[in-house]
């Protein structure tokens, strides 16, 4: 029957003990799930904000004038387009988006404009991510607001740049910056127009900036430097720091609270298990007298702990998700509620780890149970 049925029957018989133990697991799981649900949402929002703020890593040619680049944001030297694939193929660099560009200042129809050729964005292998910028089809162009206004260019017009005819796909809204003076086309078209086949001026990236210690820029430069010795790396530090600080804050809070919660819940389960073992001394003595071995007694108690863990995992996941959704935005300053959603991967992990946790917490009481001397137990009763 026997073991499984006995476990369920005992649980039903001592409901309060079981519910209190499950509550301990629920508390621990809910804490973890709420925290991870909210922090995942926070990370997602950070990523979204980072994306909306633009690329935070720039790779330019090694001999490009740094001063000029920092002043106007356009490198004066080019590098081979093949660098993009070379960088994208590396597993050692974590990145989310890579974008190769070719920028060139030029005089067009009496105006100083910036021509920017955009290659399709590259995402890490196996990861489909929504592009951060629009993809410009060959033969088309996106015209900056100021240029379109001054030269009265409209959507669907065909413009001629150095003999290359491009259909205006879109006239961009006013940005109040350099983009208003920019014409964006495909990389290939820009290479043709500027007479720089196979060349780019820069690679822009959004990286994950997972460096916990030291100078992330130095690390990035070192890593990329080994792959692309003919390039130099710049990072928009304010963005990087914001993300790093936020992650660090989350880690710190978690690191302080987690041990307390886990230990408290572990002790709670352990004490309840000891009480359960003491309550069941005659039963243990009887089972041993009837010839049941150590494994059976272990199974009775660890099986119950497994059940406690599973019930606690399910309840904890539901509670934790609800808490994360309710209080996460306040704790983690998440503004976009759409970033918050149940993390089903946490449910799977909870179902595996919570029973393990409950069984570990019940291990000492189980050892106490199997070491009861049946003769002593039955004699005392």
């Amino acid at each position: 029957m026997f073991i499984t049925r006995m476990i369920f029957k005992e649980v039903w018989h001592r409901k309060v003990n079981f519910l209190l133990a499950a509550l301990a697991v629920t508390t621990a799981v809910a804490f973890l799930v709420a925290f991870f649900t909210a922090s995942k949402a926070s990370e997602r929002e950070t990523a979204r904000l980072m994306l909306s703020m633009g690329y935070n890593v720039h790779v330019i040619a090694k001999d490009a004038d740094i001063g000029g680049f920092l002043m106007i944001g356009i490198p004066d030297k080019t590098m081979p387009e093949a660098y993009l694939q070379k960088l994208a193929a590396q597993n050692s660099i974590s990145y989310n988006h890579l974008l190769a560009t070719l920028d060139g200042k030029m005089k067009w129809r009496g105006m100083d404009v910036v021509l920017t050729g955009l290659a399709p964005e590259v995402c890490p292998p196996g990861q489909q991510k929504q592009a951060m910028t629009f993809t410009v089809k060959p033969g088309t162009a996106y015209v900056g607001h100021r240029i379109a206004e001054v030269l009265t260019i409209q959507k669907d017009d065909v413009i001629d740049i150095n003999g290359k005819k491009l259909k205006v796909e879109r006239c961009l809204a006013e940005s109040g910056g350099l983009d208003d003076m920019r014409i964006q086309c495909s990389l290939k078209d820009a290479q043709d127009i500027l007479g720089l086949p196979g060349q780019i001026t820069g690679i822009k990236a959004v990286d994950c900036l997972c460096f916990e210690k030291g100078d992330p820029v130095a690390t990035l430069r070192k890593e990329i430097g080994t792959i692309l010795p003919e390039a130099q790396v710049f990072q928009v530090k304010s963005l990087a720091n914001a993300r790093a600080k936020q992650r660090q804050m989350i880690r710190n809070i978690f690191a302080v609270l987690l041990p307390f919660v886990i230990i408290a819940c572990g002790v709670w389960i352990g004490v309840l298990a000891v009480m359960n073992v003491r309550d069941r001394r005659p039963e243990i003595g009887l089972l041993r007298a009837l010839g049941y071995n150590t494994a059976v007694v272990c199974l009775l108690f660890l099986g119950k702990a497994l059940l406690v863990g599973l019930v606690g995992a399910a309840a904890g996941f539901l509670l934790g998700t609800e808490l994360g959704l309710q209080f996460g935005p306040g704790v983690f300053e998440i503004t976009a509620k759409t970033m918050l959603r149940p993390e089903l991967s946490l449910f799977v992990r909870s179902c595996f780890l919570a029973p393990l946790f409950a069984m570990l917490a019940s291990l000492v009481p189980t050892v106490i149970a199997v070491t009861y001397d049946p003769a002593t137990t039955l004699r005392e009763e």
Partner: protein, 221 residues
């Protein structure tokens, strides 16, 4: 069937050593109903636990059918116990969350035989518990609890039943009933050893042994 040779048991406590059993030698044959009598603390339960292969003697041997049971390893001893010995306790020791039938079948968990459930139901019927199969111990009278314990003890068709104060919590009528059931087992060829400080069991016993302070009062037994 059972030979106890120079059996002694010393418990070490904080207050010092306590000699629970002192040099007890005894032979019990197949088909005997032995009442081990003596006041509380005389060593009756200790003697039963030693015979049950649950309490290793400090000195001496327990031979069951010419085999020293304490020479067996722990698991083998548990297996031996499950196959050969049935227990009846004063406090019944029924598992509170199992019903009468399940408590009886608890003994079947270690000795796998076909038809154990049918046998359990038959035993319970014979013991007048056919209407109580689905009842839990808390829903039974003391007499019914003890009869359930007897059914559990009988399930594996043991050679020996050890009963420790089986009538201690029963009224006279129920006590008689329980002893009669044990007598039935003895008359069908089994051996019964009952530890008691009362007199009821003596009427059913084929032999009475008296213990005082861990010693046999009449060492000739």
């Amino acid at each position: 069937m059972l030979t106890l040779q120079d059996l002694s048991k010393v418990y070490r406590t904080r207050a010092g050593e306590v000699k629970a059993l002192d040099n007890v030698s005894l032979q019990i044959g197949k088909g005997e109903f032995v009442a081990v009598c003596g006041p509380s603390g005389s060593g009756k339960t200790t003697l039963l636990m030693m015979i049950a292969a649950m309490l290793r003697p400090s000195r001496g041997t327990v031979r069951f059918e010419d085999r020293d049971i304490y020479e067996l390893a722990g698991p083998a001893r548990a297996w031996f116990r499950a196959q050969n010995i049935g227990f009846v306790f004063q406090m019944f020791h029924l598992v509170p969350y199992l019903n009468v039938l399940e408590n009886t079948l608890l003994a079947a968990g270690t000795v796998k035989r076909n038809g154990q459930k049918a046998r359990a139901e038959e035993l319970l019927q014979r013991l007048g518990l056919q209407q109580r199969l689905g009842h839990r111990p808390s829903e039974l009278s003391a007499g019914e609890k003890q009869r359930t314990a007897i059914a559990r003890a009988l399930l594996n068709q043991p050679k020996l039943i050890l009963a420790d104060e089986p009538t201690g919590n029963l009224d006279a009528e129920n006590a008689q009933g329980v002893l009669r059931h044990l007598q039935d087992f003895q008359q069908s060829g089994g051996t019964v050893i009952v530890a008691t400080h009362g007199h009821a069991a003596r009427e059913f016993a084929t032999r009475t042994i008296n213990l005082r302070e861990g010693r046999l009062v009449d060492p000739r037994v």
